[in-house]
C-alpha cells in the first residue's frame, strides 16, 4: 500500500515535466525577437485542439505554425504581418485576442457599455433618493404624521 502511494507521488511529481514536450529549442539573435516569439505563440490558438495556444500543443499543425512564426521572425516580418498570415489561412479563430474592427465592435464595446450603463443607473437612483428625502412635508402630510404619533403615544 505504502509503495503504491509512493509510486503515485513520484508520477505526480513528474507530471509537469511531461507537459513540456511541445517546446522545441530555438535559436534567437536577440532577446527581443525571442520575447516576440513567445508572445506570438502564446496568442495564436491551435486550430485543431480548440482551447490551447500553439505554444503548448503537441498537435502537428501547432508545430507547423510555430515553425512559420519562427521563420517569419527571422525574415524580419512584423507581428501584424505574421498574425495576418495566420488569419488568412486559418481564420479569426486562431486569434486569442480578437481584433477591434466593425464586426467585433459589439464584443469589445459591450463590457464597457454595461459598466457605463450601470454607473448611469446608480447616479439616477442616488439623485432620485436625494430628492425625495430633501422634500418638505405638505401641511396635510404633517397633520397625518402628527395624528399617527399621537395615536402611538396614547396607546
Amino acid at each position: 500500500m505504502a509503495l503504491i502511494t509512493r509510486l503515485l507521488l513520484c508520477a505526480l511529481l513528474l507530471w509537469p515535466a511531461l507537459g513540456q514536450a511541445a517546446v522545441e529549442v530555438r535559436e534567437f539573435d536577440d532577446p527581443v525577437t525571442e520575447q516576440r516569439y513567445r508572445d506570438l505563440t502564446a496568442t495564436l490558438r491551435c486550430p485543431k485542439c480548440e482551447n490551447q495556444a500553439i505554444d503548448d500543443s503537441d498537435s502537428p499543425i501547432a508545430g507547423d505554425m510555430r515553425e512559420r512564426v519562427y521563420l517569419q521572425l527571422q525574415d524580419g516580418r512584423s507581428d501584424k504581418e505574421i498574425l495576418d498570415f495566420m488569419v488568412n489561412r486559418f481564420g479569426d479563430y486562431v486569434l486569442y485576442n480578437p481584433r477591434l474592427e466593425g464586426r467585433t465592435l459589439l464584443l469589445w464595446g459591450l463590457p464597457a457599455g454595461l459598466v457605463l450603463l450601470g454607473a448611469l443607473v446608480v447616479v439616477l437612483m442616488v439623485r432620485a433618493r436625494r430628492r425625495t428625502s430633501a422634500r418638505d412635508l405638505s401641511a396635510e402630510e404633517r397633520a397625518r404624521l402628527d395624528a399617527l404619533i399621537k395615536r402611538e403615544r396614547t396607546e
Binding site: E50, R68, F90, G91, D92, Y93
Partner: protein, 175 residues
Amino acid sequence: MKRRLLLLLPLAGFLVLGAFLYMGLSINPFERDSALMAREFPAFELTTLEDPERVVDASLLEGEVTLVNVWGEWCPTCKQEMPQLLDLAERGVRLVGVDYKDTREKGREFLTEFGNPFEVNIFDPEGSLGFDLGVYGAPETFLVDREGIIRYHHTGYIRPEDVRETILPEVERWR
C-alpha cells in the same frame, strides 16, 4: 409600477446573455467556415504523386469545377472516405488529390489498396500547400469553381449522405 419593471432590467439582460452563451455551447467548433472561402486557390508549385518529373500549379484547377481532397496514407479517416470519393468520381465529378505529409511509396500503396478516384494527385510532402489551404487535419475537401475560386469546404469525414445532401448539390451549383 414603472420603477418595478426597471428593476427587472438586469434580469432580462442576464437572460439574454445566458441564452446567447448557451447557444455557443452547442456550436461545433470544427464546422467553422474556411478562411479561404470565395478566395483564389493558393498558388503552389509541386510535383505529382504519379510523376516526380511533372510540376503542376494552380492552373491545374482552372476550366472545370474540381473537388480537391487532402489526404494521406497515415490518416485512417481518409481510408473510410474513399468509397464516397470513388462514388463521386463515378458520377462524373472531377477530383484532384493532395497527398499531404506523406511519402511517395506510401501514397501510391494507399491508392492501389483503396482505389484511385483522382485525376491527378499533388504531392505535398512538407505540407506547404496544406498549410496555405489552412488544413489542420486530413481529410479536408475543397470545391473549386472553373475560375479557380474556392466555393465550398468540408472538414473531416465525408459520409455517404453528405455526398447526396451537400457535395453533389454544391458541385451542380457551381457548374
